[in-house]
Amino acid sequence: MATTTQIPAAPAPAVHRPRRRWGATVFGVVVLAVMLFPLYWMINTALQPDASLVDVGPVPTGVDFSGFTSAITEQGTNLLTSLAVALGAVAICLAISAPAAYGLAQFKLRGSKTIVFGTLITQMVPGIVIANALYSAYVDLGLVNSYFGLMLADASLGIPFAIVLMRSFMVSIPREVIEAAEVDGAGRFRTFVQVVLPMSRNSLITAGLFSFLYAWSDFMFALTLNTTDDVKPITLGIYQYIGAHVGDWGSVMAASVLSAVPAAVLLVLSQKYIAAGITGGSVK
């Protein structure tokens, strides 16, 4: 189209069109700046030496990591707890939902439809209602204040979503591929592990990512299913932190920044999976 050599010939359109398009970019940047301001402010406050003062500068002048040092000292173990609980929840979630998704996608069993329907319904049960009933059951079973108890509860956040997501993927695996594996002498379970799972890698990653994010950001189960400080994820840690150290915003914000790091790393590593999961899991 309008190459550089042609500019003298047709000056008006060549200049006009790009400018209009860059106008939209400028607008987009402004929108983004407004949307991301709270995150920027979180980082900015975390890096200020006297973050509790009124006049926190718009940019950190002297970068000061003391907020981060005290956040790591005081919240480091909670970060590790979050990581352990979230990874455990992902493992439970995938171990339970991947076979189920396969079964619901490929086997013709009576009742499958009802189960898929039930899975959709469970996504609508308010978490606090689950916590309400689980608490007394957990007390009886000795699961209060335990890592395993919290992993199980957190896995429940991801399981319905993971089943729906992986099932919608596994439906499209051709029957012939599975039958061929079975003809070759593989059992149903081996076919699943060696043929179906590798083929469904992308949907497994997406489901795993989302269940990690759900478990990592869980606050409600952490708050309700723990009565001591034995198992304290970072979300609960930060919440209790503002109760105790309201003046020390630098450390609170530093801990907040750290709580966003794993998710940010995951996003960078797997952006395309996340985008696919968001649209695939919620619309279909």
Partner: protein, 323 residues
């Protein structure tokens, strides 16, 4: 069929199969069929059991609990005597319930309208082609990655009446810079809604953007050729095509908003003077602060009832979409 013999031969490698004593003996087709479907259920059973325990059981348990008298000592003595409808009448007679219900409605409607309108506007905006479109669009998702309770705490800092950046910014540009965002009973709920709108915009934008991509461009071009204005084309062509996606976005948004807990606890803890108490926080307060699980269960059941109405609505829409 060959698949039955194949799976029988490979049974030892299949830990979920019922038993290993079935290797290669002539079986009648009916019991073979039953064994096959048993093995198949082995894949699905763990999920069904899990969901029964973590979703089904709580639903039933909450109904039972709402007729029981729980006190802090219940967890030592293990005794929670049935008390008829006492919990229900206590909750309904307490003015706080009505207040929380009304505030839940305001919070949900306010959040949904704000999230949806801004999300849709941004989705439409991003359908235009301009440099850096893709990067800007994916960066807008960033707020999503921060745990909600952490977002709440960051906003709590921003909203601080005396030392928060929002008031100091408003003061700099000549507006009144002393709004008690979270500390006055008249402003707190509005502030919480504003934060929740901020949280919901990325979700609405992504889903609606995806929906807009599906609208055939030829339709809009045809409308434009017929002389329709951009707004008219959007209203009469794009919106009707987008309707299924809009319904899904609104229902999912409703589901996640009506039960909100994290955000409110982080921003205001339900205060000041219960002005941001919602059904979600009220359930929490009743059960886990006052240790009256019976009362908590009553509010929880009402929350379920509200969600159930919308669940039916959602499934209806979903089913029609499938065809």
């Amino acid at each position: 069929m060959s698949s039955t013999t194949a799976s029988a031969a490979a049974l030892p490698a299949d830990p979920k199969a019922p038993a290993a004593d079935t290797v290669k003996k002539p079986v009648n087709p009916r019991s073979a069929k039953r064994r096959k479907s048993l093995a198949q259920w082995g894949f699905i059973a763990p999920a069904v059991i899990f969901m029964a325990l973590f979703f089904g059981y709580p639903l039933v348990r909450n109904i039972v609990m709402s007729f029981q008298d729980y006190s802090p000592s219940t967890f030592f003595t293990g005794e929670a005597p049935f008390n008829g409808t006492d919990n229900w009448s206590n909750v309904f007679n307490d003015g706080l319930f009505g207040k929380a219900l009304w505030q839940t409605i305001l919070f949900t409607v306010g959040s949904l309208v704000g999230q949806f309108c801004i999300g849709l506007a941004l989705a439409v905006f991003f359908t235009r082609r301009f440099p850096l479109n893709g990067i800007l669009r994916s960066l807008i998702l960033l707020p999503w990655l921060v745990p909600m309770v952490v977002s709440g705490i960051v906003w709590r800092r921003i909203f601080d009446q005396d030392t928060g950046v929002l008031n100091s910014f408003l003061g700099t540009i000549g507006l009144p810079g002393d709004t008690p965002w979270l500390t006055s009973t008249s402003m707190a709920l509005i502030s919480v809604i504003l934060v929740n709108i901020w949280i919901g915009i990325p979700f609405n934008m992504v889903i609606l953007y995806g929906g807009l991509q599906e609208v055939p461009k030829e339709l809009n071009e045809a409308a434009a050729l017929d002389g329709a204005s951009a707004w008219r084309t959007f209203r009469s062509v794009t919106l009707p095509m987008l309707k299924p996606v809009i319904t899904v976005v609104l229902v999912l948004g409703f589901m996640s908003t009506v039960k909100i807990l994290d955000l409110v606890l982080a921003l205001t803890d339900g205060g000041p003077a219960d002005s941001t108490q919602t059904l979600g926080t009220l359930t929490y307060q009743n059960s886990f602060v006052q240790m009256d699980f019976g009362a908590g269960a009553v509010v929880g059941n009402i929350l379920i009832l509200i969600s159930a109405v919308f669940a039916v609505f959602y499934l209806r829409v979903n089913r029609n979409e499938g065809k």
